[in-house]
Symmetry: D2
Subunit: 298 residues, 4 copies
Amino acid sequence: MEIGIIGLGKMGYNLALNMKDKGHKVVAYNKTPDKTKDAENEGIIGAYNLEELVKKLSKRRVIWLMVPAGEIVDELIEELAPLLDEHDIIIDGGNSYYKDSIRRHALLKSRGIDFLDAGTSGGMEGARYGVCTMIGGDEEVFRFVEPIFRDISVENGYLYTGKAGSGHFVKMIHNGIEYGMMQAIAEGFEILEKSQFDLDFKEVARVWNHGSVIRGWLMELTEKAFEKDPKLDGIKGVMFSSGEGLWTVQEALSLKVPAPVITESLYMRYRSEMEDTFSGKVVAALRNEFGGHKVVKK
Amino acid sequence: MEIGIIGLGKMGYNLALNMKDKGHKVVAYNKTPDKTKDAENEGIIGAYNLEELVKKLSKRRVIWLMVPAGEIVDELIEELAPLLDEHDIIIDGGNSYYKDSIRRHALLKSRGIDFLDAGTSGGMEGARYGVCTMIGGDEEVFRFVEPIFRDISVENGYLYTGKAGSGHFVKMIHNGIEYGMMQAIAEGFEILEKSQFDLDFKEVARVWNHGSVIRGWLMELTEKAFEKDPKLDGIKGVMFSSGEGLWTVQEALSLKVPAPVITESLYMRYRSEMEDTFSGKVVAALRNEFGGHKVVKK
Amino acid sequence: MEIGIIGLGKMGYNLALNMKDKGHKVVAYNKTPDKTKDAENEGIIGAYNLEELVKKLSKRRVIWLMVPAGEIVDELIEELAPLLDEHDIIIDGGNSYYKDSIRRHALLKSRGIDFLDAGTSGGMEGARYGVCTMIGGDEEVFRFVEPIFRDISVENGYLYTGKAGSGHFVKMIHNGIEYGMMQAIAEGFEILEKSQFDLDFKEVARVWNHGSVIRGWLMELTEKAFEKDPKLDGIKGVMFSSGEGLWTVQEALSLKVPAPVITESLYMRYRSEMEDTFSGKVVAALRNEFGGHKVVKK
Amino acid sequence: MEIGIIGLGKMGYNLALNMKDKGHKVVAYNKTPDKTKDAENEGIIGAYNLEELVKKLSKRRVIWLMVPAGEIVDELIEELAPLLDEHDIIIDGGNSYYKDSIRRHALLKSRGIDFLDAGTSGGMEGARYGVCTMIGGDEEVFRFVEPIFRDISVENGYLYTGKAGSGHFVKMIHNGIEYGMMQAIAEGFEILEKSQFDLDFKEVARVWNHGSVIRGWLMELTEKAFEKDPKLDGIKGVMFSSGEGLWTVQEALSLKVPAPVITESLYMRYRSEMEDTFSGKVVAALRNEFGGHKVVKK
């Protein structure tokens, strides 16, 4: 098939190569032209503006957006839609909030343009050699582009999840689970680290990857991380987050689902970005007030 | 009555004065003699070793221990017991672990000496002018010393809680609740602090102390703390803990009682004592492994 | 002063009586007329529709809304605004979401009408005999109605918190803290209940109310509750919630404030409304899959 | 090699078969003889008391205990030790508490008998076809029996973790992580279940197992579980626990490691075993006291 791709960041660039390797004609556009040039060197057709991208694609056009979630997606759609013909297809392959995808689907439908929301998981390596995709939107539209999803995903690694928004929703929950799993692994290793035993963390992760109940890709990455830096001495424990964990917790709250594990994972990330807390000051001040307990002065 | 007091720290010293004010004959001993001297200047009878303390008391002696929880209590009891006569009474007024109190009660009973475990709450001011006490042990023994508890406590502020250990147990739970309440207050103020509103925290605490659902002594102390330092700029948010919170959580675990609030309060205290976490490094390293996400280098 | 009150529910009715007792002329309207009749019997002036209410008040009119949060407030304002004159004042004394209050303040301002958001705490008894109020909005407007706030509140029990929305915001946080405090108390009593000791919970709450660190109104209410039903045998542990706890958690999330205690309090409430959980089934099924562990069949 | 195995439960029976398949001479004893008979039918040498088991093994004997954690292990060791010769080896392959293993290692050493603590993971299928083992104890002893560990484990699936106790310690942490991971997965699926989307959970688990970040054995088991019962309608969400999660949390507490995720996983399990909570009653009663809020009567 032919596919246009907008956004050649870490994920988009690797996906473009992946698509090309599978025999698709890939036309790529990126805000800054150097990435497009790189892509051209890899056999991808470059486009230096949206008009060019659209022109280089045959109808029924398929355009994959791989840009950061948020207003930028709306802006792109606003620019792109007037250039498209009826039933051309926009696929949002980024980490957009599922309610935005529902809204965009409806908006584009009213303008005759088709829209799919595709959550993708698997990291950069997955993007390059085989990703996992969850796709929401109208089924007919999905069926039209299914060959692309089949080709870029690992075997058995794509799923049509149903109506608009469901692809990004399922991906969001996937990330929420990921937060909880990672924090669980992290707490376990911190207890190991503080224990009386002298353990080789890389070896522990290695053995857990062979036959244990908790084996899986995250544990394999844990093994890799400890292989590179056995005690993680080179980095600080600051855990950033990019939205899906927060959205998952917000969803849990609004559905009245107790989700303490995913929530605490998020809170520990927030805490890690803070040097000090006001709440800590309040407790310290209170302890001092009633018991004369020691306070750490600044 | 006559009462011997061992340990003239913040709490013990104030309690001794409180007892004396109520007309009791107080004999006090402290490891370092300067505190004893101070007490003598306040009209308390000083003793410079345990023998002296015991000799200065008439039988049925009543001796109140006010020392840090742990081995020091066992050592003191070991030293003190041989000097005592049958049915003399040792009261442990400190924050001992209730299982230690059950053990000590049994041990002393086998040697003919009576033992009460008395949890005391109210801070230094309470110790001085009216404390809250929860007393466990044999009821006959409690009745004998009840006048002292009545006098040192605020009106209605003492309770015989039942068999040995129950006094310290009830006090332990009191402190567990205190952890949760303080953390709740602290979280609330941190949200206020991070909010878009420009609030005078002292005034907020003040208004909440007048008619609101959450009025209480902790909120009064919050008001006082903000009165002294409106934004708590002078201190760091390091929250120490002295054992009862931990014991409460351990108790919850062994009784299979879900106690997320008290437990999280404790974890946030532990977290506040750490500059960085190993768990944070693990999560940061994992995010970097799968998504190439930014890591803060050391 | 003269004041119109709309909504004679538990809180509104008591507030109306409170205002009347302090010498204000109170005109009251309620959707169902029987409540209005009751109020008339208590010396309050009844109104049977909004026009009547407005007509019975002199300018600069002050109208206090005491209705459930949500669309009903918007509908009332929509109906009421056309009947009012410039700079008449609407006070929303309910538990509205602070962002709604900011929006309503702006909307009404554009139509020449003044608006205050007043969070009130203290329960029904407080509403009747002395409440705690936190008021946001334009300061001039607040100063105009300050006498009413002074009169209905306990001494020192009202605070002008600043710009529009801040009154409901501070009240929201108050309720979030309340969630955490209540859960802390509840966890403590559950540990007491499951313990080896045979405790009289009412007496424990009583002693904690006299001199302890955790004394306060909530502990007084705990004492009262146990006085009526010593083991709470008559009720089920279903904990409903009405919004402010959820909003507080949502606020914490969006401000990146770790608030585990308030959040867990909310989750335990949600959990208490569920007979069974899907998450529990997933874990049970997984344990069965890998270890052949027992599963409870339906 | 020759190996005696005591305990033919789910894990022990499969391990015995596994060892036999790899060419080891396996002598098995079980408290109830029918299991031993079954084993004999599979080519394993049966023993009907400990003496017989010991006699049927050549020196340096290796005896693997596969019995429930707790006193039963101590009793077995007490019975077994007098029958053994110097430097015979007892391996505890069960889920014993690591501090017990440290104690047992020391006790047996003083009696000339060697001891290894071996944590095993992988479920029944793992026990049968390839397990994951973590082994603590004296290195010389480990090296002597290493062939057995190599044979029964999947390739790369065993690790000598160091001094006595470390094998069970690492296994304990493994289980703690497992608790957190399972709860994370479970929360995610509960949000999916409560969502507006109509999802096939088995398909979601399936796609997540192909290329996603959270792929792993637990997700594969999730897929299997939903394959058998698409909505888990047949079971209740009661989550039992068998000790290692609790021990992990206790360890976190004593090492002052914030471990909210593992802890909340445990609390949600405890909560799932309760029909109602006393803490819920306390909160419900308090809400009723201050606000007249609805209470569910029994």
